[in-house]
């Protein structure tokens, strides 16, 4: 058995023992796993590497903390409830269409920003109350939002994992619109239908109507929605009209949105709201610090390369399995960079655009998977479920369906490219 495999098994065992036996938080467990990996890998206690890895997701941590404060303020002002009611009022008579619209709505910020987390923290948080109130189980709501966030990250026009793979193989981000739509939209629709018929079989229009009428509360008019409109439009503007819209960065956009939110309704206490928001986001932020350390030690000790070479070394006939292993890397960006880049070369001879799009779908599913299970962790914050692995469990079937669709497209990548490109 190679030393890298031993290190990897020890890291996973440390993580599992820490989280399941000693009931430590996931973030702390990841940090402990990183320390154990470094020690077994002969690196001692590499302070510089642990700190550097811990800062690997600094931007994501800033986005989450500011987004959580923003969403809490929106909750306090009543904007969240207002948007939920609006969507529900429009589509409540057709539940299947309602779930499809909600899925696409959750995907929307990810399509524009390329970040899956924004789907959960913005539109996901908006629709969660709707789904819960029309009778869907909480865990299923969390799972549907997490799955939609994955598809949002993949769908065009902006897909950062494609750009990461493109950066690795010197391929410009051109011509990916249709291939990305092909690998994201059908699985998204199937997932929406799966959740509709599996977890909302007894939808009752009359009951929902009663709920709608009972929740028509105080109205504050259009100004309540200005912060949400500002945040969404500014994010789009930064990307689509970058020559005219100054670059602020996502955290600052959320901060400005928060300030606007405070101006739309009196009585919202920023300190209290921020404290609550950051307290609820703390486990996710700790996970991100832990994941950064974990990935740094994987690279430092050679485990990362070992995993990638093992995937490449699979026999010719089952090479597609290497693509199927991508979600198990536990991070979309990590998976795209580590396995995605070599796999583009493995499948040379097929349409690179379609192959890359499939690999991105596979990589994006990694955001659901442990050890970090980031999207499940975010989603658990939204539905207030302490154990995010219970959300992952609900995602297994739609994940499997999405992977099957992806692999099918991969097998016939060239033929499909001939048809659509």
């Amino acid at each position: 058995m190679s030393i890298e495999l031993i290190i990897f098994i020890c890291m996973l065992a440390t993580f599992a023992l820490s989280i399941f036996l000693f009931k430590m938080p996931a973030g702390v467990s990841l940090m402990l796993a990183a320390v154990v990996g470094a020690l077994i890998g002969g690196q001692g206690f590499p302070v510089r590497h642990l700190v550097e890895g811990g800062f690997g997701f600094l931007e994501a941590i800033l986005i989450i903390s500011t987004a959580m404060i923003f969403m809490r303020v929106m909750q306090e002002t009543g904007a969240l409830a207002g948007v939920s009611r609006g969507i529900l009022r429009l589509f409540y008579r057709q539940p299947t269409l309602l779930i499809i619209v909600i899925t696409l709505f959750v995907m929307f910020p990810g399509m524009l920003t390329g970040l899956s987390s924004t789907c959960i923290l913005t539109t996901g948080a908006l629709v969660a109350p709707i789904l819960i109130n029309i009778g869907m189980q909480r865990l299923a709501v969390g799972a549907l939002i997490a799955m939609a966030a994955v598809f949002g990250e993949v769908a065009p026009p902006i897909s950062i994992p494609v750009m990461i793979i493109g950066g690795g193989v010197d391929m410009p981000y051109i011509g990916f619109g249709l291939p990305l739509l092909l690998v994201s939209l059908p699985p998204a629709l199937i997932t929406a239908l799966y959740f509709r018929f599996r977890y909302l079989p007894d939808y009752n229009v009359a009951k929902v109507k009663v709920y709608l009428d009972s929740t028509d509360g105080e109205k504050y008019g259009f100004k309540l929605y200005i912060p949400i409109i500002f945040v969404i439009l500014y994010m789009i503007g930064e990307i689509r009209f970058h020559e005219f819209v100054p670059h602020l960065g996502v955290p600052l956009i959320f901060i400005i949105g928060t300030i606007l939110g405070l101006l739309t309704r009196r009585g919202v206490k920023l300190i209290d709201v921020s404290r609550t928001a950051l307290r609820s986001a703390m486990p996710v932020m700790a996970i991100l610090v832990g994941v950064g350390m974990f990935l740094q030690i994987l690279a430092l000790t050679g485990v990362r390369g070992y995993l990638a070479v093992t995937a490449l070394g699979l026999p010719e006939g089952i090479r597609y399995l290497a693509a199927g292993l991508m979600p198990f890397m536990g991070s979309a960006y990590g998976s795209a960079s580590i396995i995605g880049v070599p796999l583009v070369y493995v499948f040379i001879g097929k349409s690179t655009l379609v192959v890359t799009a499939v690999l991105v779908l596979m990589a994006a599913l990694g955001d659901l998977m442990p050890p970090p299970a980031l999207l499940c962790a975010y989603s658990s914050q939204i539905i207030e479920e302490p154990n995010h692995f219970r959300i992952l469990k609900k995602c297994i079937i739609p994940m499997a369906i999405s992977m099957a669709i992806g692999l099918l497209i991969l097998v016939f990548a060239q033929e499909i490219a001939n048809l659509i490109l």
């Binding site: 950062i160 950066g167 410009p172 960065g249 050679g302 390369g305 880049v341 070599p342």
Partner: protein, 374 residues
């Protein structure tokens, strides 16, 4: 009180201690290594002398001039565009510390993206520095990041729209100087550095320009000379010369639809003949094993041997010897020399004659350190 908050106090103390230790380590990256130019050096200016917009920033960097005093052409040699590519920087340093010019002029910028030398890439596990033994003692060199330090340019956009092509790349690439050419005077720091370099090329009427790089063994564009389509004959002449010396380089035309790279934009926006060279560096690869100084310098990695045996990828890796630093630096210097020789054949009125650079065999035999001064 203390008892109730004991765990908080312990965690705070541990975190603060780790922070201080890491800060000391990262702080060392802000101390540039001393360079010892050869006696042929005739001048040293700063890149900001060509564009004020980077003065006082970490993007400003030294520009070394070797002027023969004999009328001829002008060459520019750039290393350290990506400071995580050790042979890129070291090749420029070896040229700087040995060069004599007898016709024309040569400019050398060893730390092209100076800011990127002050940080490393998170989650890659790279060592902060490496040491090379020389005749005069050991010299330490920093192994930096592929991109500008975020302390100098932050935050990244979600999507980087390259100027002026509007080509979209991942936001991280906004700090990559080799995606930022031709640059712009009012852009971010990386774009301003790129702009300053283009200003230098234009003001000094550079005829031939080199951008020295390294790449992962699994990337197809490795062990190559990338050339602008207008100057194919110069590249082919050099590749033939290198072939005769036993060094194989593949010719690669600069893609017309991939913007921001030196070989594309220097060729499109200036009169210089641009060349970009890549060697195979296993320490940069995604398939690499344990990441340490030995891998950076010895370039030997079993993972690449195994990956090559799978036949799944085209991998530029020599199973028997690996890709040691002497081999990589030797190839780059041989490439520069042959490209200048080839240029001289096609542009006899603007000759550049350089001397005293070690050839590939000398570097392989004696090691890189033999050609470093003190």
């Amino acid at each position: 009180m203390i008892k109730n908050n004991l765990s908080t106090i312990i965690i705070t103390v541990i975190t603060a201690t780790m922070g201080v230790i890491a800060a000391v380590s990262f702080g060392k990256m802000h101390h540039p290594e001393e360079l010892f130019p050869s006696e042929g050096l005739t001048g040293k200016v700063m890149l900001s002398d060509y564009f004020e917009g980077i003065k006082g920033t970490n993007g400003d960097t030294e520009v070394y001039l070797f002027d023969s005093g004999v009328e001829g052409g002008t060459a520019l040699v750039c290393g350290g565009a990506h400071p995580n590519e050790a042979a890129s920087f070291l090749s420029a340093v070896v040229i700087l510390e040995n060069l004599r010019v007898t016709c024309g002029r040569v400019f050398i910028i060893p730390r092209l993206n100076n800011s990127a030398f002050t940080c490393s890439d998170p989650m890659e596990g790279f060592p902060a520095s490496y040491e090379i033994p020389t005749k005069y003692g050991t010299r330490r060199f920093r192994l930096g990041s592929r991109v500008t330090n975020p302390l100098d340019q932050w935050p990244d956009p979600l999507v980087f729209s390259q100027y002026p092509s509007n080509q979209q790349l991942s936001g991280f690439e906004t700090r990559n100087i080799n995606r930022s050419y031709p640059g712009r005077a009012d852009g971010n720091l990386t774009e301003r550095i790129a702009y300053a370099i283009v200003q230098l090329i234009e003001k000094e009427k550079v005829n031939i320009a080199f951008d020295i790089h390294e790449s992962s063994p699994e990337v197809p564009i490795v062990n190559v000379i990338v050339y602008h389509e207008n100057y194919e004959e110069v590249a082919m002449g050099a590749i033939l010369g290198l072939e005769m010396a036993g060094l194989q380089f593949s010719p690669e035309t600069s893609p017309k639809n991939f913007h921001g790279l030196s070989h594309r934009e220097w060729g499109d926006y200036t009169n210089a003949i641009p060349f970009l060279m890549e060697t195979s560096n296993p320490s940069m690869g995604r398939l690499r094993g344990r990441t340490d100084v030995d891998l950076v310098l010895r370039g030997y990695c079993d993972n690449y041997k195994k990956a090559k045996e799978t036949g799944a990828l085209r991998i530029a890796y020599r199973e028997d010897t690996g890709e040691p630093i002497a081999h990589r630096v030797g190839r780059h210097i041989a490439g520069v020399v042959e490209l200048i020789n080839s240029y001289n054949l096609y542009y006899p009125d603007m000759q550049i004659v350089i001397e005293n650079l070690p050839d590939y065999d000398m570097i392989m035999e004696k090691g890189v350190g033999e050609f470093l001064n003190n």
